[in-house]
Symmetry: C2
Subunit: 340 residues, 2 copies
């Protein structure tokens, strides 16, 4: 197993360190190559993602990323120049974000019920296409546009993936989240493709929710959701809410998948680089560890993935919620559980 | 006071009836004209918003709308052809949505703290501009676009309004919610204008939150927000979440304001027509009643507006939360409180 690791900025290196500690217990022979990308490289060399690095990254089975972003770098530079560039160059069309409220975890909801869903967020088009512009910049007549680009090709592959995932789950339920009543063109295309794919998956029940209503359901009745399929931007928004509802982004893992396997998929915690707590051993590495489980699952190491998830579940059920321990202590506990 | 009333569909007529009952207590001489717009008019005549009706609506001081929408009408027809058309024709650029957790109200959060914010949602541009299209419709090569159009003119007027509102509030705090790290063009324009307006309002402190992070804050720490200013689509999404957090859309009021007063402003509960509970006296008219308070406030009837709000606050603090009474019973209680 050849893994590329991008520790990144802020708490990225800390949580990645613990994630690799856990990985070493289940895949002792993994070949790890670290890539120094992020704020400090940009500061010292002006580079975000050199072609040579991209070429090397492509030669790995998967990529593990900590987090990128630092207040010293203008907003958007690292996001667009590194993180989104990786997702687009490596055709990460399925942005997979499970949302599970583990027993013992206290989220913000008084009465959440059982929450176990997975969001399949489209990852390579929509409002993220980078297709917009400015007219009469810096004047009172300035016009800024952002074009959401949606293709039948791009939507079908994630919708098909979402149906396939729904089919594997006990409830076999899929919800399309969009805003079809306002975004009529993109909405009609998403709706058509969900309808068409549902014919090929008659055992999956299908629901629809406007994105605004979905935010209500996510806090009043999150257990109604099983698989959600949605557009890049709506997915960005609701997966942060899902993460909050299931105990916070300290626990939320994600996979950026090229399901054709032409390019390595990339796994990352949903949280950012949290520069305010960096270097203090305060970050919870659980999301990074769960991202390793997604990575192993994607590479077919199902046993090892389940083992990590079960260890996380056990640790979350038994840890002191108010004082879960340092980054390293949590990593040590998880590594011990995984190897036991 | 000349008011146009659009009861609309589903529970719209029921809640509007109670709202007018309450209004009659504070403004006995209001001249009310009802307009039959919505699903049944569309079914019987094919009309959504005839020019003649639009012309008549313009001759009123304000508009009160119940709700539009019915499952018998294809999604989007009434939304775009009636509701959004009214907002755009009447230049309702400030979509004002207060979010207050009233004492006694149980929302979904275990520990919400004090919540008292107001969202100033842009109402006439952004992704709602209706600017998109389809290429190669119904083929595997279909491309659907949606163009978010943002102008310095359009943004400045709502940002200026949001700052003016922040200045009137004890905390004098304003948060811009956007997604500047991805939507770089629209994001840079919004950021520039907020920066410029902040110079003119040095007593207002300014914060920024990405829309995804804002959904987390809204469920983990909603009291951090005072005034939020945001784009049309982000505003649509987060105000439903704000409504949920503050006890549900049964309590959420909104005003669609033309702050230049060239056109009548329009007031409506945030909830929809809820056809599943229509005609059963199950709908809570509180959001419609609070919308009347916003209407009176806008027309300069501050005393009456405060009176209604105080009555609602009293009723919410004392009502049986599990059994608040029928639509009419709640309306009767509020009318009695307002006149007492
Ligand atoms: C950092 C940012 C570009 C990114 C996104 O918008 O996709 C993040 O919010 C996420 O959800 O992974
Ligand atoms: C019904 C719909 C068009 C509308 C909107 O998207 O603005 C509604 O969700 C709202 O928030 O008032």
């Amino acid at each position: 197993m050849r893994l590329a690791v991008i520790p990144g900025d802020g708490i990225g290196p800390e949580v990645v360190g613990e994630a690799l500690k856990v990985l070493a217990e289940v895949v002792p022979g993994a070949e790890i190559t670290k890539y120094d990308l992020g704020a400090s490289r940009w500061h010292s060399t002006g580079e975000l993602l050199p072609e040579s690095v991209l070429t090397e990254l492509r030669q790995h089975d998967a990529i593990l990323l900590g987090a990128v972003g630092d207040p010293s770098v203008p907003s958007g530079i690292l996001e667009r120049g590194l993180l989104l560039r990786l997702r687009f160059e490596l055709d990460h069309h399925v942005n997979l974000r499970p949302g599970r409220l583990y027993p013992g975890v206290r989220g913000p909801l008084a009465d959440p019920g059982e929450v176990d869903m997975v969001v399949v967020r489209e990852g390579t088009e929509g409002p993220y296409a980078g297709n917009g512009g400015l007219l009469r910049k810096d004047t009172e007549q300035e016009v800024a546009t952002e074009v959401s680009v949606n293709t039948a090709f791009g939507i079908r592959r994630v919708v098909a993936d979402a149906f396939a995932r729904a089919e594997q789950r006990p409830r076999k339920h899929l919800t399309l989240v969009h805003k079809t009543n306002v975004l009529e063109h993109a909405g009609s295309l998403w709706s058509r493709i969900v309808e068409e794919e549902s014919l090929a998956h008659p055992d999956v029940t299908v629901a629809y929710s406007h994105v605004d209503a979905a935010t209500i359901h996510l806090v009043t009745d999150p257990s109604r959701f099983d698989v959600i399929v949605t557009d890049n931007l709506f997915g960005d928004i609701i997966t942060d809410l899902v993460a909050a509802v299931t105990g916070g982004i300290g626990l939320a893992a994600s996979g950026n998948l090229d399901i054709t396997r032409r390019n390595p998929s990339m796994f990352e915690p949903v949280h950012g680089s949290a520069p305010d707590i960096a270097g203090q051993s305060l970050a919870d590495p659980t999301a990074a560890v769960l991202s390793v489980a997604l990575l192993l699952d994607h590479l077919g190491e199902r046993e090892s993935a389940r083992r990590i998830e079960a260890s996380v579940a056990f640790d979350l059920a038994t840890r002191d919620q108010n004082n879960p321990g340092s980054t390293q202590a949590i990593g040590d506990r998880l590594a011990a559980l995984v190897s036991s």
